[in-house]
């Protein structure tokens, strides 16, 4: 019987910790304005979202024929069309902070928002 309680406590701890981490990132972030668009782990575009006056969109294509249409508005970026069947990247909607990047797994597209206009050294450099 006691074992069940320990297990329940461990599960609760994981959930609480995840929630706390997300809440922390939610309340400390929000000032980011530079969108980084990666295709197949390569940085293809950096956009200052606050400098965008007129909304525009561009196409990102992969080597094997997949494509995503990325739309940029003032302070926001999102995917409006994708060649993949699940379309999770479209349903993620428009993002305006670093809380959750847009990821399209089949086309290996990642859109992330950071607070610096230059790619930071360190982990990102190591990852690529």
């Amino acid at each position: 019987m006691k074992k069940e309680y320990v297990c329940a406590a461990a599960a609760a701890a994981v959930i609480v910790l995840s929630c706390a981490l997300t809440a922390f990132r939610y309340f400390t972030g929000g000032n980011e304005r530079y969108a980084y668009v990666y295709s197949d782990s390569v940085l293809i575009k950096t956009i200052d979202l606050n400098a965008v006056k007129e909304p525009y969109s561009f196409l990102v294509e992969t080597k094997d024929g997949g494509s995503n249409t990325v739309e940029v508005c003032h302070g926001e970026i999102g995917v409006t069309h994708a060649s993949c069947p699940d379309e999770i990247c479209i349903n993620t909607g428009f993002i305006h902070s670093s809380l959750l990047p847009i990821v399209c797994l089949p086309n290996k597209l990642v859109i992330e928002i950071k607070d610096s206009p230059y790619e930071s050294e360190g982990i990102d450099a190591v990852a690529q």
Partner: protein, 178 residues
């Protein structure tokens, strides 16, 4: 001796087919949450069931065959790598948890499996894409806890009902009398 071997082979093949059916049907359900990697993971019921009632070697075999065949049916080479990383990590974690806890509570072993499946997937995505996908981990851990408990309860109900119907013992016999 030979008879038992054939029975074991047939049983494992059936379970393999069953987990593939579960996997295929589940993949037809449209994603509810717009976050990559959030899914019910119902096929894990078969893996967990085998870990608990049969032996770990059979469970690993069924899991591996399922991952490979699922990738063939789904036709996505990238998702194969994610499921392989997640599946192997989840399997090892579930085996360790099962040994540590002596097989109970089932829902917690399943939860450990789900959480480690997500960790494995995110690690694979980090290596294959960018570090930014790490931000998905808290969301996936929460969803992993919920879906893990659900599939774990499903597994324990299955075992309970099979035991009541007298089907569990003949199943166990296939694996123990080798």
């Amino acid at each position: 001796m030979n008879k038992i071997k054939i029975r074991k082979l047939v049983t494992l093949s059936l379970l393999c087919a069953l987990s593939l059916i579960i996997f295929t049907v589940e993949s037809m359900i449209p994603p509810i949450v717009p976050i990559q990697g959030v899914k019910l993971g119902l096929a894990n019921v078969i893996t967990l069931f085998l870990i608990l009632t049969a032996d770990k070697k059979s469970a690993a075999a069924v899991l591996l065959v399922r991952i490979v065949l699922a990738a063939v049916f789904a036709g996505q080479a990238i998702s194969f790598l994610y499921s392989l990383c997640g599946g192997m990590l989840a399997f090892s974690a579930m085996c360790a948890a099962e040994k540590l806890l002596n097989g109970k509570p089932v829902w917690f072993i399943s939860l450990v499996g789900a959480v480690f499946h997500n960790i494995g997937q995110i690690s694979a995505a980090c290596v294959l894409m960018t570090w930014a996908v790490v931000y998905y981990l808290p969301f996936l851990l929460i969803s992993g806890c919920i879906t893990g408990i659900l599939t774990g309860l499903l597994t324990s109900f299955t075992i309970e009902k099979m035991d009541k119907a007298g089907l569990l013992q003949p199943f166990k016999d296939v694996f123990n009398k080798e």
